[in-house]
């Protein structure tokens, strides 16, 4: 086995050992524009979606509604080029920093959080 491939397999096992999945085998992935810091959306990954994301550099999620893997932008063209993925302290959330092409939201807005902001006390 060539060394780069061996390295990859080892890291995958390292990540897999740290991941704490929910009852459906999924972890939430917070998706953030890498340079502006905007939070674009939240999606879900299982081990295979994370593996594909790291292997291809294109953010790939598990669609809970369609029960299938979903390369973000595959139909819309609004891909997410992945810059980095970090696991949180508990291993149950991923932070995926991406460079987003076009709007992140399927509704056409820049992020999925473009609605009205509620403020404490004035709500």
């Amino acid at each position: 086995m060539d060394e780069s491939r061996a390295g990859r397999v080892a890291l995958d096992m390292d990540i897999a050992a740290k991941l704490k999945r929910n009852g459906e085998g999924l972890v939430p992935a917070v998706v953030q524009q890498y340079d502006s810091g905007e939070v674009l959306m939240l999606a879900w990954m299982d081990d295979e979606a994370l593996r594909r994301t790291l292997a291809t550099g294109r953010a790939t999620y598990w669609s809970r509604s369609r029960a299938e893997y979903w390369v973000k932008g595959e139909t819309s063209g609004n891909f997410q080029q992945v810059k980095s993925v970090a696991l949180d302290c508990d291993g149950d959330t991923l932070l995926v920093k991406v460079d987003q092409t076009g709007p992140a939201c399927h509704t056409g807005t820049h992020t999925c959080f473009d609605g009205r902001e509620l403020r404490p006390g004035t709500a």
Copy 2:
């Protein structure tokens, strides 16, 4: 009923109508430092945690491990002063922008994502 209180009740019902909770009655809350844009952590809220957060201006979550409400910072002093809360397009995720006192993570790190970053292709 005085008008400001009536307004509050109406908005609560508006939010409640839009929220899509998981099987446990919870939605994930992405917590972001309002000025730097850093993603600090992910926590969970039910309707009551969101109501308390908006009423008090202090981020309040539902602890799944302890099965109780949890005012972030109540024991550590590392409170989160809430600037705004936004619902995503599907109503199943909250983005909570806060001003974090001290480290956000219970491990003492600045955010809960301060571990090693994985990069596509080099993983």
